[in-house]
């Protein structure tokens, strides 16, 4: 599929993300690995979806496909009706910059930068004016309640604070979709709940679509609107929490 197709509007409006038999296969040591295999689903705008599954089920690969960090082997994946599979590398970079915010299990803050500088980084990449940057950075940091840590480096912050900092960084470019890959995986239960509350608040107050990869079903059932269960690269269940 060429880049121009990526710009085509999908007929199914109202979805933040829609996949159509999307697959991601790769070879490892001569064996074909079907990390994601013909998965189709839709995620509505402002929906909070948890992607569940055991290790190797393909949930993180699917998240990367939604983020535009990886390309599907086949099928289509639409974000706000634009097919990511047909986008050029630059268009995908633009998609990651403006449409997507990402949070990782390992926080992935740059250790030599302060909290403020880490949060400012996506704004630099998006070429936002320096004056506007300061405002947006303060806003994002205020939303995760880290105003007192502005000049602290990641190593000077706790795990929960680091994840909140990563959340602020993901929010600073005002994306419409937040993709969180095991955001509570490195945190204790209480801190994990704090992060989940924060995600819920963001979802509710900003109307942001959230897709969260997790293997913690109870927490997912507690916070998410909808659970997608994956196994061996396939979507095995899709429904509201019990």
């Amino acid at each position: 599929m060429n880049s121009s197709e990526g710009l085509k509007t999908n007929s199914a409006n109202g979805f933040a993300i829609r996949t159509d038999s999307v697959s991601r296969h790769y070879h490892m040591g001569g064996a074909l690995v079907r990390a994601v295999d013909g998965v189709s689903f839709e995620i509505r705008k402002a929906e909070f979806v948890a992607l569940l599954g055991s290790s190797g089920s393909g949930k993180s690969t699917l998240l990367n496909l939604m983020a535009g960090l990886d390309r599907p082997t086949s099928g289509a994946i639409f974000a706000h009706d634009r097919n990511l599979a047909g986008m050029t590398a630059d268009e995908l970079a633009n998609h990651r910059s403006h449409t997507i915010g990402m949070v990782f299990q390992a926080f992935n803050l740059l250790p030599r930068m302060t909290l403020e500088e880490n949060v400012e980084l996506p704004l630099r990449l998006a070429e936002v004016d320096r004056k506007e940057r300061a405002t947006r950075v303060r806003e994002a940091i205020a939303r995760v309640h880290l105003e007192a840590r502005l000049t602290h480096r990641p190593t000077e912050m706790s795990g929960g604070e680091q994840q909140r900092a990563a959340l602020a960084r993901a929010l600073v470019n005002r994306p419409t979709i937040l993709l969180a890959d095991e955001p509570t995986g490195n945190l204790d239960s209480a801190t994990g709940d704090e992060i989940m509350l924060l995600l819920r608040e963001i979802n509710e107050t900003l109307g942001m679509t959230i897709v969260m990869v997790t293997h913690e079903r109870p927490r997912a059932e507690r916070f998410a609107h909808r659970l997608l269960q994956m196994k061996d690269g396939k979507l095995i269940s899709d429904g509201a929490p019990a």
């Binding site: 960090l69 590398a89 990651r96 403006h98 992935n108 996506p122 990449l125």
Partner: protein
Amino acid sequence: MKISDLTELAARNLREALLRNSLTTLGIAVGVASLVAMLSLGVGLQELANKRLSSSGLFDAIFVGPHMNDRGFGRPRAQNASAPASNAAATGTNPSATASASSGGNADAAAAGQRPSTQASSAERRNEERPLDEAARQQIAKLPNVQEVYPEIRFSTEILYDGNPYMTMVAGIPDSARNGGAFDGMKGSFFSSPNADEAILQIDFAKQLSDNPDSLIGKEITLRYAERQPIAPEHPESQPPPGSAAKPGKMKTASQLEGANGSADPTDMSPGFNVIPRQEKLRVVGIVTTEPAAGAGAFGRGRVLIPEIPAEKLSAAQQNDLRDILRGRSGERTFATLTVRMKKPADVAGAEDAIKAMGFSAFSLLDATKNLRLVFAVFDALLGLFGSLALIVASLGIINTLVMAILERRREIGVLKALGASDRDVRKLFFAEAGAMGLLGGIFGVFIGWLIGAGMNFGTNIYLQRQDLPSIQVSSVPLWMAGLAIGFAVGVSLVAGLYPASRAAKLNPVEALRYE
């Protein structure tokens, strides 16, 4: 990403691995220093050679002599010459009375500056030697961009000092030589004025006069020379007939006599001139170690240098006076050579052609200068090549450093891409880091190179001082070289950064984010 953000991030990254990046930058600095030191030596030597040649007046000077005539003494050549009309006529100058006389009745046309109609008269006029006299000097001085025209004054003399006579050569030195560089590093001072009765001694001659040459400065020496005094003509009736271009009162030349009578009449020759011994007191104002009076304009060496104007006024008998007698020109003095100094070397070629067109021989060392420049260009290229080798080796250091940085910052590159950095952004970031190392290394390298050059100058001058020789500058780092070296360092660094930057840009973000 904006350039300001790119620069900021690159600087931050460079500060992160400070030691490694500093060592890489130092490697570039050493490479640039080697390049600059080599080139500065080449340029310094070239400047030194140029300065020395300029001091000799070779670049902007034209040396003018009478037209060469291999038949000698102005006799006409064979009448088969088919060359165009004489240069003198072509330029509208009066080709002298002798031409009129020898062409037998064509005098009016020649005097009017018209092109002679017959092949024979043309050949005669071309072969006739035009005297290099005061009129010629004035005519040459009127050419465009001529700074000054002065005759070569050089004569044998006897110097009396401390009661002892010393035979030597005296040379006249124009006042323009004051700024020419030939007298740089002299002891004492240049002439106080263009008319001063002062002398500058060449060191070898000064050593003859005194064991302590410096003590001669301020002392008086006596110059004994032979003054030339013209003898008035005894046969006024031998003047040229009216209508001829020859001036009344002037003696006929040998060719006039030949042309008129078919053969020279010894009884009609000039009576010559008187030679009267004279002496002049001069005050020694300086001692010079170079030989400013040597060179193309003064084939002999002047050991006692005096200002040109008083030197001319002395009217001392010179070697070409004998030639003037034989040619019957004892009435009006001619010059053996004239030195024409142009405002700049670029003016030399045009003036040289114009002077030749006047009927004189003229030559300059412009072609020799061009060859010299060619030699130095090749020399500089070779030095630059050897100097660049170190920089090329240093560029391998950049590649190594950046490749290491990719490995170390693999996860960071993944994060940047996840946050929206394009491949181009990542590539530019690594380019900026390579360029910054090149820029810093280049600036530092130029400084080290300049220090090496200064060290070479210092060492050379210590050696020269011990040899009792004047100081020189063998190494020179002009601004263009500094700029070129820094630019070259940045260029080489960017080329070295091509591979790492491309590799970083192509990094799969998913794999990079998984990297521990």
